[in-house]
Symmetry: C2
Subunit: 329 residues, 2 copies
Amino acid sequence: MKRLTGKDVARAAGVSVSAVSRAFTAENRLNKATRDHILKVASELGYRPNALARSLIKQESDLVAVVFGNTDGMYDKDFFNRLSTALQKRGKWALQIRSEEEENIAETLGKALMYPVSAAIVRAGTVDLQVIENSKKMHVPLIYTGLGPTVKGADCVWLNYKRGGLLGTRHLIKRGCKKIAYIGGIEGITADTGRREGYLEALGEAGLQPHGISQTRFDFESGLQAALNLLQSDNPPDAFYCVSDAAALGVLNAAKSILNLRVPEDVAVVGSDNMPMAAWPCFDLTAATNPIDEIVQNLMNTLEARLADPDQKEMSVVVEPELVIRGSA
Amino acid sequence: MKRLTGKDVARAAGVSVSAVSRAFTAENRLNKATRDHILKVASELGYRPNALARSLIKQESDLVAVVFGNTDGMYDKDFFNRLSTALQKRGKWALQIRSEEEENIAETLGKALMYPVSAAIVRAGTVDLQVIENSKKMHVPLIYTGLGPTVKGADCVWLNYKRGGLLGTRHLIKRGCKKIAYIGGIEGITADTGRREGYLEALGEAGLQPHGISQTRFDFESGLQAALNLLQSDNPPDAFYCVSDAAALGVLNAAKSILNLRVPEDVAVVGSDNMPMAAWPCFDLTAATNPIDEIVQNLMNTLEARLADPDQKEMSVVVEPELVIRGSA
DNA sequence: ACCTCTATTGCAATCGATTGCCAAAACTCA
DNA sequence: TGAGTTTTGGCAATCGATTGCAATAGAGGT
């Protein structure tokens, strides 16, 4: 039950291990007939060179560690999906690493760094200096994403969360909403901090006061519950700006399906992310974008630039959200 | 920019490379004081043994290739997520491999088999003998999932798709529906074949004829479009059995949000998978289950059994769907 | 003081592949 | 035919870690 090796192929083809290796590397150091023969024998046996043994000698590998702090969210699943597809298109393989707790990322990444990855992409809501420290010591380039701009010591591709909150809330104000609630996420996560900041600034511009701020877990159930609480209070809001699409869909469910309110007449709802689901007829959700393709593309560019020149100074790319206006606000 | 190695630690700690290695393996072959010193120096430098170099000599690795034929579906994303979390809990790392086209799985898996994975888990809708052949030749255990029972030469964990179609359609019949349409997926994919078989069998039991069979792409848009076509025809169906939850949600959108029909009074809808979304108030979808946790658990059991004894005969586990009845039918 | 036994550590071979170097073979051209 | 050049392919060192074996030191017994 041993793995097939180059030695087996060499024996079968009647050549040396070096010849087998040369048949598989692009080197022009082999007679065409010999190479063809070796490749034929190898393919019959089903042999492929061991990428790890290769990475030992070549001092490089095609593995990229992809670390997620919390993947429960629908957005993150989608994001991860596109990210690893993009990596694979560029000849890289995603070594997937999850951390149930946002705090354990350092430890989890540490274990994964035992594999000779050429880089690590970390998607998390908070910066962990230990993570940066670890990867620095291992000489593994680190790219953060899903964070605000303040990552010192690592490359970063981030969304201008504040602008999302700003655009979404301004839109609600322009519609004439006066009692605008904020459905937030976990405190300390930059997606929440930034969007709330934008929300508050937009209210300030219009001289309005925040009308209910709920901190939740970014997800559907949280959004639904928070909206139920607020809408059934003595002084219900007339609009919601939500930290995620998932939460916004929860709010829509609370308002339309449970409380039989009209959207946007009784209550207007704006989400953040603009996932494909936001466009479904039953939701028709107005949302600030969090464009996966653009972010992934920037991640790929950053990765390639970093691998090409490991010593260049830190790179930081900002992606700007837009507001997609649909029927919910 | 070289990776930190055991030699660096050895030099810094004033010991041999062997001693460093012994400090990191559980061996009791080192003086406690020496070991502590080495570990301290290693941790200061941020050193971790190279898992690949280790796997060379140990002839085993903690990598598991996870291959997906088509990951666009919402269900698959969720599935993958849980699968890799489960693997990680057992000390395995998921090396993620995607194949845009179902036909290219063999080729894609082949490339990934260059890494010394201890096993490959393949989730696909069709069996590819080449895939089985390849992994056999490389001596890599292969576990198929998402397929009907007829996989020769590989272990398999599958859902009894037919039973899902049977339960769902019987339920619609019991409700009094007479004109039941089938919203199917891509032909040849066992999830479609099996569920349609169950649908037809249930109709046969009741002496009913199929009322419209649409083959689509398993997804929301397909379901919506197919339902629009059928519902706007001269002789619209009074119920839908759908090959996936995503398609069922498309049908619900067409019926409720676009055509303003009442569900289940005008048209009843049953889905397959029972994703968390099916329970959202706005959908309240009756669905046959496709229990991710149970399937993943069985995959883990199969994997462990196979790794424990590579020579035992093929294993095949069947997971039985149930029907979760909600408001849509 | 001498011998035995054990604990601790280093040396060197090994895993599978790559590659610099060298030698044999083949080819060129006068 | 022979000198010079090129092509071809094997030998052996190498990557980073592990491990069998051997060497050394120290403990304990008589």
